[in-house]
């Protein structure tokens, strides 16, 4: 059979087709990513019991009024100076850190937990649980108390795990923990602009993230931001790396907790 040459395909209109596709994608897509500050709303509580008042030194109160003027503790901050919030919040966290005496009275104190102390608390919780579980008749109240003890045991076990991790990476036996009640309290007015509110959120987030990154870099040689990004992308896969990062992040979040209370405006 005679060898026939394959006819050449005319590729001249290939460019047209590609252009068509390109323009289609240009029109239907957007470049910008969706970015946001993630926050949680507290769970609803059925019967509000009266809580003991929080000591003033543990509150960092920021108020934004309807004219976008910001008051942080006792100082007024104009919108153009909002960046100064960053160092103020860092100061709030750091001023009493690693201090056992000569503490600044207006700022949250630190507790220095040790493994032995946590173990002791765990034993107390176990003993309390035993006392209730050995009862023959359990009332509804008893069951509630048992549940509370179980939660406590879980909590102290977690703390012990965390302090072991901290000692392993930092070599220190004591873990500094900011007062449990210490929080940033963000108040706004009904007419406060969303942009001003987000700007304050941004400064709070930035301050805490910088503190966390620094600590994380020193302990684990990787920033908290990088770990969080990896975790958020892969959290459904149960790999050792994901579990490890989760644990590291838990420790960093325990060392520098971001407790932000957003108060509903009523004026």
């Amino acid at each position: 059979m005679a060898k026939r040459e394959a006819p050449e395909i005319n590729a001249g209109s290939m460019a047209d087709i590609a252009f068509l596709l390109l323009i289609f994608f240009l029109v239907t897509t957007t470049m910008d990513k969706d970015l946001a500050y993630l926050r949680t709303i507290p769970k609803k509580v059925e019967n509000q019991e009266k809580q003991p008042p929080v000591q003033k030194k543990n509150i960092y109160k920021i108020v934004i009024n309807s004219k976008q003027v910001i008051q942080a503790r006792d100082s007024l901050i104009k919108p153009e100076n909002i960046e100064s919030l960053n160092s103020r919040i860092k100061h709030f966290y750091l001023v009493n850190r690693d201090k056992k005496e000569n503490r600044a009275l207006d700022y949250p104190y630190y507790a220095f937990g040790t493994k032995a102390a946590f173990q002791q608390k765990l034993d107390i919780a176990y003993n309390g649980l035993d006392a209730y579980e050995s009862k023959d008749v359990l009332t509804e109240r008893d069951e509630k108390i048992i549940e509370q003890f179980n939660n406590e045991i879980q909590e102290w076990n977690k703390k012990i795990e965390m302090i072991e991790l901290y000692t392993k990476f930092s070599g220190k036996k004591e873990m500094p923990e900011i007062a449990l009640q210490a929080h940033v309290r963000l108040e706004s007015f009904i007419k406060t602009d969303y942009s001003a509110y987000v700007a304050v959120q941004s400064e709070v987030e930035k301050a805490v993230t910088e503190l966390r990154d620094e600590e994380s870099e020193a302990l684990f040689n990787i920033t908290y931001t990088a770990m969080k990004k990896y975790y958020q992308q892969n959290k459904l896969e149960n790999t050792p790396k994901v579990r490890e990062y989760r644990k590291y992040m838990d420790l960093i979040e325990l060392l520098y907790p971001l407790r932000l209370i957003e108060v509903k405006p009523n004026r």
């Binding site: 994608f25 946001a36 949680t40």
Partner: protein
Amino acid sequence: MSKFRKNDDKKAPGINTSSLPDIVFMLLFFFMVATTTKEVDPLVKVDPAQGVGLNDLTPFKQRSEVDFLYLGEPLSGDDEKFKDGIAVQYDGIIHKDGIEHIGKWKNDKFSSKPEEFTAPKEEVITCFKADEKVPMGIIFQARDILQEENFNSIGYYAREKGNKNGYNIRQQ
């Protein structure tokens, strides 16, 4: 005799366009990778607020763990009809009840998630894509409803601010 004499007899040489498709395909693939599809056409004007250290929602979007709602002035029609001139857009429509519709919308959204969806109710993020001039009162109203319905995760949408520029806050 000029050196720059026009030679009228010579034709302009043809340009070889055989590599044009390659170039265009390269551009095409770049845009396919670097962009994301638009979900809905906005019906309200949203000029996002600015901030730093924002959380990328892309991984949450891929798992459809985030629902967006849009708050701002309506692009067409008069804003008199809406409370404070702020319309609330859920997916493709502006709802007449405004922010009060959010509870029903979230519940409908949650029950229509695919079966392999595992995230609990509390972890499905509600992201407020709000215009920078939206008053906070409306957002706290939404927060109250979400708290009542046990949707405990929210996101405040913003755009990344360059390090050099300041925040864009309206002064009064």
